[in-house]
């Protein structure tokens, strides 16, 4: 199974590896969601969705279905 942002636990940091450009909105790319950038899971909303992330210094929230499309590599502390 591939590791995506959805696999992160609260407080985990990861590097974005790849995603299918067609399913990720351009706006998200512009906010810094690009291969090679850092992502950290800050909070999970009460019912498990959406996810509150720090991507490349930007604080933003996305839904799980989008998070599932973004492959990452978790950084071990």
């Amino acid at each position: 199974m591939k590791t995506t942002i959805n696999s992160l636990k609260k407080g985990d940091k990861a590097v974005i590896k790849s995603f299918d450009v067609d399913v990720i909105p351009l706006k998200l790319l512009e906010m810094g969601c690009l291969p090679g950038n850092l992502v950290e899971l800050l909070q999970i909303a009460p019912f498990g969705d959406p996810l509150y992330l720090n991507i490349n210094g930007s604080h933003l929230a996305i839904r799980i279905e989008t998070a599932n499309e973004i492959e990452v590599e978790i950084i071990k502390n």
Partner: protein
């Protein structure tokens, strides 16, 4: 000495304090209007830079980039591409936030590619120490080929430096700061060859964006250089990566963050405010305070306005010379104006809270908290903002749906927002509740009237959610669901921003709605004061003949004549015509008149009754409420506004679609007559049905 005028455009990401910069530059010299044909708000301010240099400052809608995905963002691009537009800027000021500089610079590099003189404002400089940030301004200025103003609108410094930069805009470099066309050399070289006189980045925007573009045959560009949607997006991704590479390189040397010095207060606050229990508790507590303010705190100024206008009307009719004009003023215009001004306290409170919640950054946390729940109803977390704003007015609320990315979620939000109890319903509710619900305490602290009002608000929200749930099941729209919401850092709201926002919003509401209400009041007065046929003309004789053998006082006689005249006036005839249709709901022809006249704007209801009862009775100095409460059905001798009729009216107004402006805005935002007509038929049909059932059970 001739004076010079500079056109300045303020551009920036949302949450960078762009509007604070605008307010600092212009003070209260602002004009808020609409761009022709569309409902995007246009804010222009005026700033005197020196004794002979003035600046017109345009505050453009916040945007993350020049790749537009909403009407507001389209507007930014259209203006930036159209040199002939009279608003086209001589100089662009890009406002950025020192804590989000990396992301904010993306838009800056795009603007620079348009080769317009550009100043970079780095705002919120007061946060640098707190976050351990230090900047190498000269290095950044060289790399970004611009001049930088480091400012803090909160601590009030740097604005004069910005003004100096604006004055000297002609010395700014117009050279792009990176070469974005290297992402596909061949493609861009061909483009350059085909249109040698055009700016390359402009052409690229024309190809990728859906905007109007003058001076250039758009079809021609599109046909010969078109690519599949997927290929274009791949190129746009490459472009974005390219820009970020450049920004990262620049910031590596130009910006330093000492994480040891950085404090993370926001993170702690987030843990509480988005907590699975406390998050909701706090949200509902805030909602409670808002409603408390609207229902309770605003009562005092509203009662004061109501009685002031009753006195004023009385004063006018007594002191002005008797005649048609005096009647028009005392019975048409003064009650009409009063009916508008009475809204001010409630609207001001509502906009006060909404702008504090938005300024502080809390609204995004609400979106985050509510998204999963709202999605069960086919809505988005972002629908919460329109639904809350809807308690002020559905028009700004529907405009606030623009940031919902998913079309189906957005459409459903637009369709159900008018169910939330807007401030126009409030006077209708207030007066009917006061007439039929006793002013009794409940459990010591609460009040029965207040509880009824709260129930009506909950009913509105509940109906909005229920309708959304049904629409979600019925509508077959397949649209890609995506959702990105920025979580800005927490800020203490700035008094000046909140105050200006409250004043502007209240003003535009009062004037916008006011014109209609005033016009309708005057027309109503006319329709109620004149009539057709012998009955109206010979009212005096007819009444005199009827009571021939009875002895009644003089004032009773003139009341009877006035009531008979009203019944036979134009408006009386209209009310009588629809009476058979509304009698099963418990309404008489006077209420019928009020319903007809409030068809275009529900707040007219109270004004209409005020006008009707002012015309129909000599007791001018009593308030509208007293007049309505005293109204007796001539046949049954019961009060007209009894419990069953009152409840039926409350429910009718809770659901009926009686607002021409909302229908117009739905048409504009959905670009089709289908949806506003659906709203009208469905909501009003539901209102009739529910009111009918309620009256038949309760009577």
């Amino acid at each position: 000495m001739s004076s010079q005028n500079i056109n300045v455009a303020l551009i920036g990401n949302p949450n960078t304090g762009k509007t604070s910069v605008f307010n600092q530059l212009t003070g209260l010299n602002q004009q808020v209007g609409n761009y022709p044909g569309i409902t995007v708000e246009k804010k222009i301010g005026f700033c005197k830079l020196t004794s002979n240099i003035n600046a017109d400052i345009l505050d453009l809608p916040g945007t993350y980039s020049l790749n537009a995905c909403s009407m507001d963002e389209n507007l930014v691009i259209e203006l930036m591409l159209n040199k002939k537009d009279k608003l086209f800027p001589d100089v662009v000021v890009v406002v950025s936030d020192v804590e989000n500089l990396k992301r904010n610079l993306l838009l800056f590099t795009q603007i620079k590619d348009l080769e317009i003189p550009t100043i970079l404002v780095i705002n919120m400089a007061d946060r640098m120490k707190y976050k351990g940030i230090s900047l190498d301004i000269p290095y950044l200025e060289t790399q970004l080929k611009t001049k930088i103003a480091l400012i803090s609108t909160r601590k009030n410094y740097g604005i004069n430096e910005l003004k100096d930069l604006i004055i000297n805009y002609e010395s700014l470099s117009v050279e792009p700061c990176l070469n974005a066309s290297s992402i596909d050399e061949d493609y861009f070289n061909n483009l350059r060859k085909a249109f040698p006189n055009q700016l390359l980045y402009k052409l690229w925007l024309v190809i990728t964006q859906d905007v109007n573009f003058q001076n250039l045959e758009r079809k021609e560009v599109k046909n010969s250089f078109t690519k599949s949607h997927s290929d274009l997006k791949r190129l746009q991704q490459k472009e974005t990566i390219k820009r970020y590479q450049f920004i990262n390189d620049v910031l590596k040397k130009g910006l330093e963050i000492n994480s040891k010095l950085a404090k993370d207060f926001g993170g702690k606050l987030d843990r509480v405010l988005t907590h699975k229990v406390w998050g909701y508790v706090i949200f509902f507590a805030i909602l409670f305070v808002i409603f408390q303010a609207i229902f309770d705190w605003s009562k005092i100024p509203m009662d004061w306005i109501d009685s002031t206008f009753a006195t004023l009307s009385n004063f006018a009719s007594n002191s002005l010379p008797k005649g048609v004009m005096t009647n028009l003023i005392s019975q048409g215009i003064i009650p009409g104006v009063g009916g508008i001004l009475i809204f001010i306290p409630q609207i001001a409170f509502l906009f006060l809270f909404i702008s504090i919640l938005e300024e502080s950054g809390y609204m995004s946390r609400v979106v985050f908290l509510m998204d999963k729940i709202m999605r069960k109803f086919g809505l988005s977390g972002k629908s919460v903002v329109p639904l809350i704003s809807g308690t002020a007015c559905a028009i700004p609320a529907i405009m606030a749906t623009r940031n919902i990315e998913n079309w189906k979620e957005r459409l459903i939000t637009i369709l159900v927002t008018p169910f939330t109890t807007c401030s126009a319903r409030l006077p209708v509710y207030a007066i009917i509740i006061a007439l039929i619900i006793p002013d009794n305490p409940v459990f010591g602290v609460l009040n029965l009237q207040g509880l009824t009002l709260m129930f009506l608000y909950l009913l509105g929200f509940g109906m909005a959610l229920f309708a959304a749930y049904i629409l979600n099941k019925i509508l077959k729209i397949d649209s890609k669901s995506f959702f990105v919401v920025e979580m800005p850092h927490y800020k203490l709201p700035m008094f000046k921003n909140v105050a200006i926002n409250v004043i502007e919003k209240t003003k535009s509401f009062i004037f916008g709605a006011g014109k209609i209400i005033l016009a309708i009041s005057v027309v109503l007065w006319f329709l109620a004061s004149y009539g057709l046929g012998d009955n109206f003309k010979n009212a005096d004789q007819i009444i005199a003949a009827r009571i021939e053998n009875q002895s009644i006082s003089k004032s009773d006689l003139s009341n009877k004549i006035a009531a008979f005249k009203l019944e036979n006036s134009y408006i009386g005839i209209m009310g009588k015509t629809i009476e058979p249709a509304i009698a099963p709901l418990g309404y008489d022809w006077k209420i019928g008149v009020a319903i007809i006249s409030s068809f275009a704007a529900r707040e007219v209801f109270v004004g209409t009754l005020a006008t009707i009862y002012s015309v129909g009775s000599s007791a001018n100095n009593s308030t509208i409420k007293n007049k309505m409460g005293a109204e007796i059905n001539p046949v049954t001798k019961n009060k007209i506004f009894n419990f069953a009729t009152g409840i039926s009216l409350l429910l009718f107004y809770a659901f009926a679609m009686q607002c021409a402006s909302t229908l117009a805005i739905t048409k504009k935002e959905t670009n089709s007559w289908k949806w506003p007509l659906g709203q009208l038929v469905f909501m009003s049909g539901l209102a009739y049905l529910v009111a009918l059932i309620a009256f038949q059970i309760l009577k």
